[in-house]
Symmetry: C2
Subunit: 283 residues, 2 copies
């Protein structure tokens, strides 16, 4: 596909094969949480995953784990992919993402083909407890307005999404956390058309693109939450439309916290489960 | 420590350094689910983790992921450990477990020092909904009696634990699943004394040693649940006494299922969270 026809996520995670199991990619500054700060972990994961996927016959990361060693700067990265094993159903793949020879992330995952998968279905989870999308705050527009007025720095990653949240979940930003470790809302890529569906690599960044759920717990831990490890289980290729996502943090112990996520598509299908281990903000 | 003074778990996960980052270990048949069948995934993980831990200054696997490629047979294994990065707070470590040169498991984890960790504490999870231990069934004794009578095969791994379960959670074994994807109970190692505490490598096998929670969903999927990947977050070193564990499976999609676990110590502290991706039984 010509680059100009690609959606921004696909373009910003594009990789070029440069040798056996070796790829070049580029960290785009547009996926950082704050201007000039570290790129989003899920974005780094998706960039590496695109190189991993290129090496195997299975397109979908059914379970992918990333360990974050140091946040890369915007610019060129090298990705080294090792196919550990390929069987009929799954490929197990490891990868290293490096910048100037320094490893920034290590990944390990199993790729499958979710459209070819067959087996029992039984989902005892309820979709996220969200109001209808028309009752949600357009947080992308609201954050953009505050950034343009100089009230807050801009949040580049938020501009990559059309992002709608219940007002109460977004009110941590004005000093009113809900008091519970929860975050959620609807989203699609900012450049998506109504009939576009996010792919299973896009779900990796979706699983990490909301403000941390811990921002809604007192006492307002709202600075950077350094991620140690993120694992995403992708369960289905989403249909078109907005995704609904829900994240919770229920166990903060000695400064470690988990964030568990669920992502559902507009058709009511569970498309991903995620869990990360992170450190609580220092402030 | 002389081998004779070791508890069985420590002995059966012992490894010997044979070169830089290289270890020999031995898969003991006593940790298989059924006589002659595959060893438990959590046991294989703990065996590899002991070699990983030997290479770094941090003793506790704060998050460890294992991908299971093929179940090893009882007998000798080689473990190759790569220290990806060591910082003050964490060591990131990868490992391969091989048998006769064939890779059986690949691991990636971050080790820390949980006793030295400092930071906020806030746990919004409730301990497992278990009755008092004295009201639980001694499932180790019950399974042993059924095996000795020839009614069922023996379950070696069950004999490694002193394992107590609410009767209703254990009744899948006599054709009465609860109908919900849940499993839980109390346990300690069978050779534990009252003042013994399980260590943080032991929690890896605890996180995988119950019958699968899916055994309690209709329609009685009670054969082998092939694990793809298991991630365990260890949060604290347990105090002495029985651990309480609780496992749930809430999303079975096209034959994929997650099993989420919580492990608590006798003092009411959350000591581990686990999640695995597995395939539903074929029967």
């Amino acid at each position: 596909m010509p680059v100009d026809d690609m959606d921004r996520f696909t373009r910003d995670t594009a990789v070029e094969a440069v040798g056996p199991g070796r790829y070049h990619g580029r960290v785009d500054p547009g996926w950082s949480v704050v201007d000039g700060a570290a790129p989003n972990g899920g974005y780094v994961m998706a960039l590496a995953a695109r190189a991993m996927r290129a090496e195997v016959p299975h397109p979908d990361p059914v379970t992918l784990t990333a360990h974050f060693l140091a946040p890369p700067d915007p610019g060129a990265v090298d990705i080294e992919v090792e196919v550990v094993r390929t069987s009929r159903r799954h490929s197990t793949v490891a990868a290293r993402l490096l910048q100037d020879g320094r490893e920034q992330a290590r990944l390990l995952g199993a790729f499958g083909d979710l459209d070819a998968a067959e087996g029992p279905d039984r989902v005892d989870l309820a979709p996220p407890p969200l109001p209808p999308i028309e009752d949600c705050l357009d947080v992308t527009a609201a954050a953009g307005a505050r950034a343009r007025s100089g009230e807050r720095p801009s949040f580049p990653i938020q501009e990559r999404f059309d992002h709608r949240q219940p007002v109460e979940l977004a009110s941590w930003a004005v000093g009113r956390p809900t008091g519970r470790g929860e975050m959620g809302g609807y989203l699609r890529f900012a450049d998506a058309h109504d009939d576009d569906a996010i792919d299973t690599l896009g779900l990796l960044v979706v699983a990490d693109c909301f403000p941390p759920a811990v921002f809604n717990t007192p006492p307002g831990l709202t600075s950077w939450v350094p991620p140690i490890e993120l694992t995403v289980q992708v369960r289905a290729r989403p249909g078109p439309g907005y995704l609904a996502a829900w994240f919770t943090t229920k166990a903060i112990t000695r400064g470690y916290l988990e964030e568990d996520g669920q992502v559902w598509d507009a058709g009511g299908n569970l498309v991903a489960l995620s869990r990360q281990l992170a450190l609580t903000p220092r402030s």
